[in-house]
């Protein structure tokens, strides 16, 4: 049995010169190797288009019922139309690529667009610990320190509350004081531990607290620490004296902690 397969259909605008030269009646050309070229004309919004459709005539073995259905006579809106697809109702659309979002192992390979957009629209990343806008609170490198601070604050709160009965203000003061006396040490060599650091900073003044930031999983230092002195003067002196000193293979950088807002 004979089936007709559509290969290409490219509507092209006729220039008037061509239109004069060519005959404007639809015609069919039977080429070699079963390629049939049909030329038809359609008019859309007053503009005449010439539609050249190439068919490949192929023979195919199909079930008998399917072959019988190929002989159906057109009915309804298609009554009287010639055999083959009509340009008004059928055309070959543009090439579409199948986009794979996962590879064979099931790993995501294509970032799904809308997830990103959804994230963008909901809210921007904001850290409530360090007030930074480049990460979430849960990923904050200073998280542990701030959490310790909060705990300390809570304890002090409980004490001051009994004494003064001023919860909110007392808390604010404590927080500010400890922030004020803290210096940030960056460019810290990995080998340096808390005792060594205490040794170095203890020469300046009384150190209340030392915190070395460590990776949550590996436990390796991240290369920065916070040192809190009892008085602000000591902290200022530490910054003046210990900034730019050599420690192992690194040059320490000591500065005020970034103000928390």
């Amino acid at each position: 049995m004979t089936g007709i397969n559509l290969i290409t259909s490219a509507p092209e605008v006729n220039s008037w010169a061509e239109a004069v030269e060519q005959d404007s009646a639809p015609h069919i050309q039977e080429g070699a190797d079963g390629i049939r070229t049909e030329t038809a004309f359609t008019e859309v919004d007053g503009v005449r288009y010439k539609v050249v459709t190439q068919f490949k005539v192929i023979n195919k073995r199909v079930p008998k019922v399917v072959a019988d259905r190929k002989k159906w006579v057109k009915f309804g809106s298609c009554k009287g139309e010639p055999a083959g697809p009509q340009v008004a109702t059928t055309y070959v659309a543009e090439e579409v690529e199948m986009q794979f979002t996962r590879n064979r192992a099931g790993e995501q390979i294509l970032d799904v667009q809308e997830d990103k957009q959804a994230a963008k629209t909901t809210s921007r990343e904001h850290c409530r610990h360090c007030k930074g806008n480049d990460h979430w609170s849960t990923h904050c490198p200073y998280k542990v320190m701030y959490q310790l601070d909060e705990e300390a604050d809570a304890n002090q709160d409980a004490d001051s509350k009994n004494a003064l009965g001023l919860r909110g203000d007392g808390r604010q003061m404590e927080r500010n004081r400890s922030d004020e006396n803290t210096c940030r040490v960056t460019n810290l060599p990995q080998e340096m531990n808390e005792d060594e650091l205490r040794d170095v900073f203890g020469r300046i003044g009384r150190v209340i607290r030392i915190f070395i930031a460590r990776d949550k999983i590996t436990g390796l230092p991240k290369g920065f620490a916070f040192v809190t002195f009892e008085s602000r003067d000591d902290a200022a002196r530490a910054i003046a004296e210990l900034n730019d000193i050599r420690m192992y293979h690194m040059v320490l950088k000591v500065e005020w902690t970034r103000p928390s807002n």
Partner: protein, 327 residues
């Protein structure tokens, strides 16, 4: 792949279906004329003229001798598939949203909408019985519901129908007992069921819902086996006949479509792995949401019908056919 784009409808598509061999594609839209096409080359064979309102559903019997259409003009019509002539017309007081043939092609089920004092119903008629098909006759099976039944189909031979509701409820009825359902699943979907399709082997059902998921259900007890999550409402889902793949189509609501960019609207069809429940591929095509889709019996073609009024018949290339999961 170069899909065939079929422009036979003036309005949004409501259903595309293949016949059993897959050589014909049936489509219906919110215009008045359901169409039939050759799948291979996209040639339109004819249109079933006679409805006077949106056509919501079309189904074809196993031997492709008859079609059934459900329409908003308060009729269900049975057609001679080859000649395009109307054989029977079933009238009702309210629009009909869904219809389907039984396995044998002798029974027709359809759902009617709830409107004023009329409750939503699901009814079944026997085409062999002249009394039932006569004008004004009653159907032999009818149940009433307070919520709209959106879709119904025969899920097991000629005995059991599965119904999806606007509330997200799913129920199965045995035709011998219209009083109570044999199975109910009210937990799997939270919003309206848009589409129910039977797997080609008849062992699974897939339900597509506005709650942005599609679920694979056991045909015997309606239990959820798998659930596929999408980012947009799912209007239609179908099961591959020869691979463990599921295809989901949907997109933003037609009412909100003008407010959405094409990329954000999510008008792609998405292919999921049936077991792993994860999307692994997608393909673009429509300018609006996909309202309906069907997988060709050969497994290499998917037909989709969109809100944009086009039917697209995409035949997959080696990219897809050669894709297998390593596990």
């Amino acid at each position: 792949m170069r899909p065939l784009s079929l422009k036979g409808h003036e309005r949004a598509l409501t259903r595309v279906r293949f016949n059993r061999e897959g050589d014909l594609t049936f489509s219906c839209a919110k215009d008045k004329k359901p169409c039939v096409w050759y799948t291979e080359n996209g040639e339109r064979i004819g249109s079933y003229d006679g409805h006077n309102g949106a056509v919501w559903d079309i189904d074809v019997s196993w031997d492709t001798s008859k079609c059934v259409t459900a329409s908003g003009d308060l009729t269900v019509k049975i057609w001679d598939a080859e000649l395009g002539s109307c054989i029977y017309t079933i009238n009702h007081q309210t629009p009909m949203k869904s219809c389907g043939f039984s396995y044998s092609g002798n029974l027709v089920c359809y759902t009617t909408q709830k409107m004023t004092k009329n409750l939503s119903t699901v009814q079944v008629r026997d085409l062999r019985d002249g009394n039932q098909m006569a004008e004004g006759a009653e159907s032999f099976f009818s149940t009433q519901f307070d919520v709209n039944a959106t879709t119904a189909l025969f899920s097991q031979m000629d005995d059991i129908i599965t119904i999806g509701f606007e509330s997200g409820l799913l129920q199965q009825y045995d035709l011998r007992n219209p009083d109570s359902p044999i199975n109910t699943n009210e937990v799997v979907h939270r919003y309206s069921i848009q589409d129910l399709q039977l797997s080609p082997r008849g062992d699974f059902l897939i339900s597509a819902s506005r709650d942005k998921t599609a679920a694979l259900l056991d045909v015997n007890d309606l239990k959820k086996l798998k659930q596929y999550k999408s980012e947009r409402p799912v209007n239609s889902a179908c099961i591959s006949p020869n691979r463990d793949h599921i295809c989901l189509g949907g997109g933003e609501d037609a009412m909100q479509v003008t407010q959405t960019a094409v990329s954000a609207g999510h008008f792609e069809a998405k292919i999921y792995h049936m077991v792993f429940e994860e999307e692994f591929a997608r393909f673009k095509g429509h300018f609006g949401p996909i309202n309906t889709m069907a997988w060709h019996p050969s497994g290499t073609i998917i037909a989709t019908g969109g809100e944009d009024g086009y039917v697209r018949i995409q035949e997959f290339d080696e990219d897809y056919l050669g894709f297998t999961y390593d596990f």
